[in-house]
C-alpha cells in the first residue's frame, strides 16, 4: 500500500483497462471496454440494471478471467501476472461487496483483523488498535464484538468497507455501496469516500446508480449500456448531464424520459 498526501495533477494511472471483454461461459456481456483511472480519482461505473456493472467489477478484481483484453494496476498487468505478482497486486486493492460479504462465523473485529493477521507482521495489540480505528471510521464503535447476523444490512455494508480498508489499499472497489442505505448513512459513506481520497490519495471505483452520490462525489463516470454491450459515455457527471447528446445518458443522469421515436407514434 502506498498513501501520499495530495499529489500534483496530472496523476499517474492507477488502473488501465484495455480492450476488456467480459462474459460468463462464452456469453459476452461487455465488449472492448477501455478506460483509465488516475490515482486519487473517484470513478463511478453507472448504467441501468443488467448492463454489466458488477460483471465489469468482478473482471477487474480477478474473480472472473476476461475473455480478452488487459487490466493493469500501477502499470503492472494483473490479467497476465504470475502467481506471486498477482498476490502482491491483490494487496493493493480492497473490495466492498454488495451485501458486505462478511464471514458469518467471525465478529466484526475478527473480520477486519483477518487480512492484517494474514498479510502483516503487526502484533495483536497493534491489530486491535487498527481494527478499532477502521470500525470507528465507518461509525461502528461499540459493535466490534457483534456477529454479522446480529447487525443490520447497512451496518454489514459499513463493516465490509472497514474490512476492505484494513490493509490501507491504494485502490478501493465499491459495489453498490449506497443500495439499501438510508439517505443519512449513504451521505456519511460518501463523506468517508471523500475523506479516503483526500487523506490517503486512495483511488476509488464505485459501481452505483445513486444519482445523489454520482453528482456528489464522482470526479468522472463511465456509463455502460446493455444493448451496446460496452461503454457509451465517459466524463465528469455534470458535464455529461449538461452536454451529452446521447439520450441514454441524459435519460439516466437527469431521470428524463426518452422522447418517443417517430416510428412509435
Amino acid at each position: 500500500m502506498s498513501l501520499t498526501p495530495a499529489s500534483p495533477a496530472p496523476a499517474p494511472a492507477a488502473i488501465e483497462v484495455t480492450g476488456l471483454c467480459c462474459g460468463y461461459e462464452g456469453r459476452t456481456v461487455l465488449k472492448d471496454v477501455s478506460f483509465t483511472v488516475r490515482r486519487g480519482e473517484v470513478l463511478f461505473v453507472i448504467g441501468g440494471s443488467g448492463c454489466g456493472k458488477s460483471t465489469l467489477l468482478r473482471h477487474l478484481v480477478g474473480l472472473n478471467a476476461p475473455m480478452a483484453g488487459e487490466v493493469k494496476f500501477f502499470g503492472q498487468s494483473f490479467t497476465a501476472a504470475d502467481l506471486a505478482t498477482r498476490r502482491g497486486l491483490l494487496k493493493t486493492f480492497g473490495v466492498l461487496y454488495q451485501g458486505g460479504a462478511l464471514w458469518s462465523s467471525l465478529t466484526l473485529r475478527q473480520n477486519v483483523a483477518l487480512p492484517l493477521e494474514e498479510h502483516t507482521a503487526l502484533s495483536g495489540r497493534e491489530i486491535a488498535e487498527l481494527t478499532s480505528l477502521k470500525l470507528a471510521q465507518v461509525g461502528l464503535t461499540g459493535f466490534e464484538d457483534y456477529y454479522p447476523s446480529e447487525i443490520s444490512g447497512g451496518m454489514k455494508k459499513r463493516a465490509g468497507l472497514a474490512r476492505a480498508l484494513a490493509l490501507d489499499p491504494a485502490i478501493v472497489f465499491l459495489d453498490e455501496p449506497s443500495a439499501g442505505l438510508d439517505p443519512i448513512t449513504s451521505r456519511k459513506l460518501d463523506d468517508l469516500v471523500l475523506q479516503l481520497r483526500d487523506t490517503f490519495g486512495t483511488t476509488l471505483v464505485v459501481v452505483s446508480h445513486e444519482l445523489a452520490s454520482i453528482f456528489g462525489i464522482a470526479d468522472r463516470v463511465i456509463m455502460l449500456d446493455r444493448d451496446a454491450q460496452g461503454l457509451i459515455a465517459e466524463g465528469p457527471p455534470a458535464h455529461l448531464a449538461a452536454h451529452s447528446r446521447d439520450p441514454r445518458v441524459t435519460e439516466f443522469l437527469l431521470r428524463r424520459d426518452r422522447p418517443p421515436s417517430p416510428a412509435a407514434r
Partner: protein, 374 residues
Amino acid sequence: MPSTAPTAARADTEMEGTVLRVRLAGDWSISGARPNWTGVLAGRAPQRVVLAADGLGDWDSSLLLFLFEVQLWCRLAGAYCDAKALPEKILTLLKQMSVSHETSVPFDRSENFFTGVGEATLDAVQKARAFSHFIGECVLGVNRMWKRPQKFRWADAIEEMQNCGAMALPIVSLISFLVGVTLAYIGAIVLRQYGGDIYVADLVGLSMVREMGALMTGVVLAGRTGAAYAATLGNMKANEEIDALETLGIPAIDFLVLPRLLALFVMMPLLTLYANALGIVGGMTVASGVLSIPPAAYWVELLTIVDLSDLFVGVTKGATFGLIIGLSGCLRGMEAERSAGGVGRAATSAVVTAILLIIVSNALYAVIFDILGL
C-alpha cells in the same frame, strides 16, 4: 503503490538536553518493516518529544501505529509530545485513533455456570415446545390436505419422491447388499461349528426383514435426505423465502414440509422392501460362494422362517423412520439461524436428531411387537 522503489521507513533522532527531536522519513507501509519506538528511544528519557515529518514519503496506518505508540509512551512517562509540526491529515487520524482506543470496549460474552445451566434448560424447554408445536402444525396441515387435496403440492411431493427414493437406490443397494454379506459371514462363523450352515438363510432373512433393512435405509436417508432438507429450508429461511410465504398467507408447512414428509413416508417402506431383497441376495451370494449352499435351498429355508408379519414389522418401521427423518430435517431447517454457519448446524443437527430418534423408536418397536406377539 508508488511508481518509484520505496525507501525504508526511518525515525531519525537528535537529543538536545531533555528534548528528543524525532524526524520521520522514508516510506511507511503496513506490510513492510518500520522503526519501533522502544528501539528509537534507546533507553533515553526525554521530557519533551518533538515530532517532524518533513522527510516523509508514502505512509499508511503503520505510521499512525508508531505515532500512537509515541503518544502513549509520553502519557505514561509524563513527557510532553509536541506533534504540531505533523501534517493536519495525520493529526486528524491520530485523534480518531485515540478516540477509538478509548471507546472500543470488548463485549464480554462470557457467562457464569448457573446462567449457562439456566439458559440451557430454558433452551431445552423451548426446543421441546417448538417440536410439539411443529408436530401440531403438521397434523393441522395434513387435515387441510385431507379436506382440500386439490390444493396440495402433488408435483413437489412426486419430485421429492424421486429425489429421496429413486435417486437413493444406488447407495441403498450397495449398503444393503454388504450388510447381507456381513451378516452371512458372522452367522457362518457360529453355525458352521454346529453343522447348521443352512440356518444362515434364517439369520440373514430375519435380521434384514425385521431390523437391518429399515434401520440401514433410515440411517442412509437421514444423512442423505434429512441433511438436504435441513440445508434447503435453512437457506430458504436465510433468503427470507419462508417469510415471503407466511406474509402471502401460505403456510410454510403445507408448501414445504408436507410434500417432503409424504415423499419420505411413501418411499421409505418401498426402499425398506428393496433393501430387504438386496440384503437377502447378499446373504445368498455368501451362502452359495463360501458355504456351498445352493440358492434354491437358501430360499426354501428362508421361507420357513420369514413370513408376512415380519415384512409388516419392517415396513412399519420404515414408514416411521421416514416420518422421523422428514420431521427432523424440516424442523431443523425451519429453526436454522439466518447465516451460513446456522445452515450448517441445522444440517448436522437434523442428522443427529433423526438417527437418535430412529434408534429410540426401533427399541420401542421391539418392545411393542414383542407384546403384540409379532
